[in-house]
């Protein structure tokens, strides 16, 4: 995919580019609106207005979004589960920059820094550097000592940490990322305790004094009745 196609893909999928879509690609407002309202998550009218306001704004330029796309792909290269594009990570970064405005300056300043560093060293924008050149720059800002405060590190290290955090959270809260992580909940089911093989793995068991007190899931649909002393009889 060349750079132009990438930008197109990004902006078409982007949740922050409503106005741009309308202006540059001639897509009707109605169609944009429909693509935005896929976010149905129980908003109050006031919250909907706030979301709509953010959707209608565009913070990062297409070049900036393209650089994030490169960076996020280096941070989490695609695998058999999915990619940062499947997870819409760049769109999340654009949205969060508007939702949490204190992200704006650090995120943008980092992009300026990495391009100037790339130009200085390799006479190219970061996105146009060879992969080995990109990694040479990143290797100097990608690591920190977890015993120290990240705030005591130079700005580029802090910036890359923020981008890594947003990339990780964006991927692992997406449909593909949740699947890869192995989270299996948020789904109607019947909890009947820790699986036996897991109990065995940790040498644990359910207390014999307790086991009779827990819900017998085969009786969960039988209406509860008690005797006068509060003993359940159904």
């Amino acid at each position: 995919m060349n750079r132009r196609d990438s930008i197109k893909t990004l902006t078409f999928a982007s949740i922050g580019a409503g106005l741009l879509l309308e202006g540059c690609y001639g897509i009707s407002r109605e169609k944009i609106k429909r693509s935005l309202t896929r976010y149905e998550y129980g908003r109050t009218p006031e919250e909907k207005l706030y979301d709509d306001k953010l959707f209608a704004q565009k913070f990062f330029s297409n070049d900036e979004l393209f650089t994030f796309d490169k960076l996020c792909n280096i941070i989490l290269p695609p695998n058999e589960f999915g990619s940062i594009r499947d997870a819409e990570v760049v769109q999340l970064i654009e949205f969060m920059a508007k939702d949490i405005p204190s992200y704006q300056d650090p995120l943008r300043e980092g992009l300026v820094w990495i391009d100037s560093e790339s130009k200085k060293r390799f006479d190219n924008l970061f996105v146009d550097c060879k992969v080995s050149q990109q990694k040479e720059i990143l290797d100097e800002i990608a690591y920190y000592d977890p015993n120290k405060s990240i705030d005591d590190y130079p700005k580029p290290v802090q910036w890359f940490n923020l981008v890594r955090n947003l990339t990780m959270t964006g991927y692992f809260t997406s449909e593909v990322g949740i699947k890869e992580l192995g989270y299996k909940g948020n789904f109607p089911n019947v909890w009947d305790g820790v699986p036996q093989d897991v109990l065995d793995q940790y040498g644990l068991e359910y207390d014999k004094d307790w086991i009779d007190k827990f819900i017998d899931q085969s009786k969960r649909n039988i209406t509860a009745e008690w005797d006068n002393d509060g003993n359940l009889i159904t």
């Binding site: 959707f55 941070i75 290269p77 949205f95 955090n165 109607p188 909890w191 007190k213 969960r220 509860a224």
Partner: protein, 573 residues
Amino acid sequence: MQIKNTAKEYDVIIVGSGAGGGMATKILSEAGLSVAVVEAGPYYDPANPEQMTQLKPAYHSPRRGAGTTRFFGDYDQAYGGWDIDGEPYSQSGDTDFRWFRSRMLGGRTNHWGRISLRFGPDDFKKKSIDGLGEDWPISYNDIKPYYDKVDKLIGVFGTKENIYNEPDGFFLPPPKPRLHELFYVNAARKSNVKVMPSRLSVLTKRLNNERGVCFYCNGCARSCNVYADFSSGSCLIFPAQKSGGQIDLYVNSMVRTVTTNNEGKASGVSFIDKDENKEYKLKGKVVVLAASACSSARILLNSKSKQHPNGLGNSSDLVGRYLHDSTGGDMMAFIPQLINRKTYNEDGVGGMHVYSPWWLDNKNLDFARGYHIEVWGGLGAPSYGTGFNVNSFNKFFGINKAGGYGKSLRDDMKKYYGSTIGLSGRGESIAQKSNYCEIDPNKVDKYGVPVLRFNYNWTDNEIKQAKHMQDTFEEIIHNMGAIPLWGKPGKDANYGLTKPGQIIHEVGTTRMGSNPKNSVVNEYERLHDVSNVYVVDAGPFVSQADKNPTWTILALAMRSSEKIVEEFKKQNF
């Protein structure tokens, strides 16, 4: 259903639709009385798909559930929060009180933790035990029949334990503990800390045909669309409407004052219709305030008249005083044994499956009153923030390098997923006359209603209790081979004691008592000064106990509502 203005005189006007207001609505309407429920927020039904957040994955939110608009995250069902646009509150001196308000039908019952603990016999008579605070004018035996009825009406799981100050009730069976909870059970027992199954108002078993049974999605804070958890709307108000009660709901209607007649008796309420920004009046024979402890105090203090120049029910000058919240302290730890754990659906109910009631005798300690311990952790649903500082736990293995990029981050993510545990203490503070809310003479909200100003300082008892929490948590965490994620807060940080208000158990502002000189309401939660105004939220609490207030709000509201029905029968209104 949502009437704007009426010449009708209701039998009862209920202000607020949370636990207390919901219970009053049910008891009073089912006795055949005509009821107006005046709620400051919008209509809300957990089963309404437009409002529902239950079962939504993080990616249904463009911010992946971040807490930008709702403090506890996008999916938490509380409309409001610590700060509401145009509805400020102020602080005196160095007070830093946090006031959480939820403006919606059902109020905070839509998102609360469902921990449903009865107060025990000692909890009503603490002054007799340690000389601090005040005794309640009622005892456990007075309220026990109502706790029993609340258990059967609403449903709570738990186990009979025969502990004197943790009375048993009519319990549904509890769910089995999760993996990290089993780690907690063993570690706490090593330190002789009692652990028992939780007591939560979640239907693990069918209670009636109106409500569904829990399907273990962990989403109680999102309010259950099959009504398997207790929310005031789904469990009290909707059933009362269904059984044919004469109930008019006024939503987006914020009560400003209780109006009075020439004899000084309540004649109704005045409220602001927030949609129209206009003020209306409703007439009622009885007014029941259930707006939350601080909101009800605010309404009373703002209800000044010739007969009540100091505010309604405030001849004692005690409305707003004895405000107290639960204490809180937390510790979070990493359990190295749980790295790279097998994943499975561990959601369970929306809260912990085991907890520790207060297990010590304060006679042997340097502080008064106890706390219970809540446990959290496990294979939780990813949401905004998941994956931040993904491999900072490397430090616990002596690896002083974190961050990086590439495939290894995916491995680190899975390695540390579900490997943490958290312990939270929630304890009893001592009600102080000097801790109070009052009307700020210089500030009004966007509707022109004078706002509250808070005055609140913890005492040594709470600070020492917080230290005890931290020491206990450290020991238990050590017992399970886990490592605390951060250093223990010291004296300069009050040993991690939360800010007053932060635990959202604020109570005590319209204290109950038999003497009108040192209390605001009588044992049936009726104002001493006015014979037809009741307060059925947590305002009447004399003391907080190391429990959560909701089950006691419900039991007291039921008892007081039955009293109101009795008085109606005697034609006393």
